[in-house]
Amino acid sequence: MKSTRKTKNAVRLSYSSITATEEKVYPISLVNDRPLVVVRRVDEEAKEEPILENEALDNEALENEVAFETTEEAPNMEQAQEQAFENEAKKEEAEPQEEAFFNYEPENAQESLDKEAFEQVQKQEPQKEEEIKLDPIQDEQKPKKKGFRLSLTEKRSLSGWLFVLPFVIGILFVYGPIIISSITFTFVDNKSIFSADGYEFVGFANYANVFKEYEWFSDTIVDAMQDLILQIPAIVIFSLFMAIILNQKMTGRAVFRAIFFLPVILSTGIIDALDVNSSLMDSMQNSQGGIDDNTGGEGAGGIVSALDIEMLLSNIKLGTDLVKIVTDLVNDIFDIVSRSGVQMLIFLSGLQSISPAIYESCEVEGASAWETFWKITLPMISPMILVNAVYTIIDLFTSADNRVMQAVFGGYGSVYYHDTNYAMAGVMMWLYIIIVLAVIVLVALLLKSVVFYQRRD
């Protein structure tokens, strides 16, 4: 074993000796008359100059460096570089020769090798190899890399800006001005918006007027809030429930998924607007023999009549408030279902990201499905609940069939179209947006204290 290792090393050594002898022949020998044989160098310098072993690696750059070092009386840089170039050039020519040497050189090297020195070299070898690996990086690449890294961070942040550039331009030159002019309208006398003479600023008069001239506004906001307090949990819970069911394996899952996400694609924009003003659904329900409950529910009222439930619940002697809550939810069922599409998608993605291994181990430990839901699914999905709650608030507040939006921007009798009071509509909208922001921050803070974040690495 040892012998083979020796010969292996000897091969490497002899290889380096070849390059060294060649160095002797070429310019280096001009500087330094001594014949450069590796054995002698091992003798003399192995202890202080472990880099010598570098020659074993056929790293050209390193060889040049070593050649440089062996000369000891280093000539100026230019000369050294010239030498290096010449070295390289000659070596390329000499390469086949090298291979020829390779075959018989080992014995030669071993003969000429001082055995003690060889053993020393071998002992030091592990250390040396480390140094060899570290040194070239430090000497050659590190300064280069350092410079690259510096420019890299700059480059990265620059290209980051480049990527978001469209949006930044949009904010600066389009969205920003639009927002500013929209806010400006709220401080301007409404009549002056349409006149050519320019705007007539009235300060906060419009804001004061909201509560004087439009008393219904504050009531509407309160009503809208009440609706939302009901609808937000309903939508989030419903979509979570449905996502869990749609995540289970069953026949016809694809069909049900397709149906459940249908409103996301279809119930928007013009279709939504048409449904809001449509009297078709009501008449359909009426002709089906349902009771005209005047709740304006869009469809679905045919399944469960709100009045029936109301009677049922009041017979059980539940409080009238609770009855109202339940009937409201039943009336809104189409709204709730059609608004939970995106939330369902988000929950589905969250459920998919929970590792099945956790469920498996739960099953092994004997946890029931009920326990698994409360201990695993709910905590793991809680970040999604936050996302969905915020999304639902935004979606409900900004939807066209929201009470406030109807009153301000809806069709007949609205502030915007009927009164054409753009200033007042702006005031209402911005007050509304501030309230929405406050609600979102409040909900986000509330939920954030409950949300469980899985530690990811």
Binding site: V164, I171, T268, W430
Partner: protein, 347 residues
């Protein structure tokens, strides 16, 4: 317990000898256990629930479809429920001819396709910048993205209208464009160009949501992928287009579908940038949802059934509007779920 010896050979030619309990015992064990019962009850309950909710979702569409075949006499007749007594196609016929359905279809298709493409690409770029690069102001820009989601578009209706109507007067971009002769002296009038501008700047309808979704997706892509690309000497843009984009295809498809569908049914931008009464104005899908001239004689009477009839007509129009979308949806609905499932959106 009586048992019978059975010899069986499986598909893979493995012979098995075993003792088997009689059929009645086996059936009892299988079907009379509590587990089975619970399972069956649960499955039935789940199925009923799913069918019920599906019915709630589909009911408006079903009602519209049935009503679309009704004639005016069916609305006068109280006994008519869903199934028409004198079915007719005149609602479809007049919407297609009077309201110029096919022209609107073509226009809307071209508009939706281009807008959806632009929005997908721009949102992907912005989202990638926000997700993978740390620079000063990153968080501010992300907040602004969320802010654009929060402001209802109606709130900016008038401001947006005047902004684009006076685009060449008060805006750097507008001045640039008008000096190039691209737009008129004042700004845009009766053109969808503002929508394209908004799309190019990531400010279109619900683009904040798209950016948010894509950002979450890109955050889930391991950094090592890009780092190895950078080490191999790939530029940032090249890395984005050759490594990140192929990975993000399912998510991009989802965003594209949303963008396409929402532009298709859009009635906001086409009304504020567009005066559809203007002579020679481009017709879009939102413009065909009106009572056709040939049917106005029935709906103008002011009676309650006339109102229902006009609702039925707009319902028919909305069926015609969503029909192409619906056909496309059947083919791509799998992709939507896939895209979101793989995104791993995590707050």
């Amino acid at each position: 317990m009586e048992t019978t010896k059975v010899k069986k050979e499986t598909k893979n030619k493995i012979r098995v000898d075993f003792e088997r309990a009689p059929l009645s015992v086996r059936l009892k064990q299988k079907f009379l256990s509590m587990d089975f019962l619970v399972n069956v009850v649960f499955k039935i309950f789940r199925f009923i629930l799913l069918v019920g909710v599906s019915y709630v979702i589909l009911y408006p569409y079903i009602a519209k479809i049935f009503a679309s075949f009704m004639s005016i006499s069916d609305f006068k007749d109280v006994t008519v429920i869903l199934i028409s007594k004198s079915p007719t196609l005149e609602q479809y016929k007049y919407i297609i001819t009077d309201n110029g359905y096919f022209l609107a279809l073509l226009n809307t298709f071209l508009l939706s396709l281009s807008v959806a493409l632009i929005q997908t690409v721009v949102c992907a770029l912005v989202a990638y910048g926000l997700a993978k690069f740390k620079f000063k102001g990153n968080n501010i820009i992300f907040f602004l993205v969320i802010f654009t989601m929060m402001v209802p578009q109606e709130a900016l209706m008038y401001a947006m209208d005047t902004f684009f109507a006076t685009f060449s007067k008060h805006n750097v971009i507008g001045m640039l464009l008008s000096s190039m002769g691209a737009i008129g002296e004042y700004g845009f009038e009766n053109t969808m160009a503002p929508l394209y501008i908004l799309s190019f700047l990531g400010l279109g309808f619900k683009n904040g949501l798209f950016i948010f979704m894509l950002r979450q997706f890109f955050k889930g892509v391991p950094d090592e992928l890009e780092e190895s690309a950078y080490v191999d000497g790939s530029s940032t843009m090249r890395t984005f287009f050759t490594i990140i984009i192929p990975l993000a295809i399912p998510m991009l498809v989802t965003v594209f579908i949303f963008s396409f569908a929402w532009t298709w049914t859009d009635d906001f931008y086409s009304t504020i940038f567009f005066d559809s009464t203007y002579e020679g104005a481009m017709k879009y899908m939102s413009d065909i949802a009106v009572v056709p001239e040939s049917l106005e004689k029935y709906t103008n009477s002011g009676t309650s059934y006339a109102n229902v009839y006009s609702s039925a007509i707009t319902g028919t129009a909305s069926i015609l509007i969503i029909l192409p979308l619906l056909i496309a949806y059947i083919f791509v609905q799998n992709k939507i779920v896939q895209g979101i499932e793989r995104s791993g959106i995590v707050g």
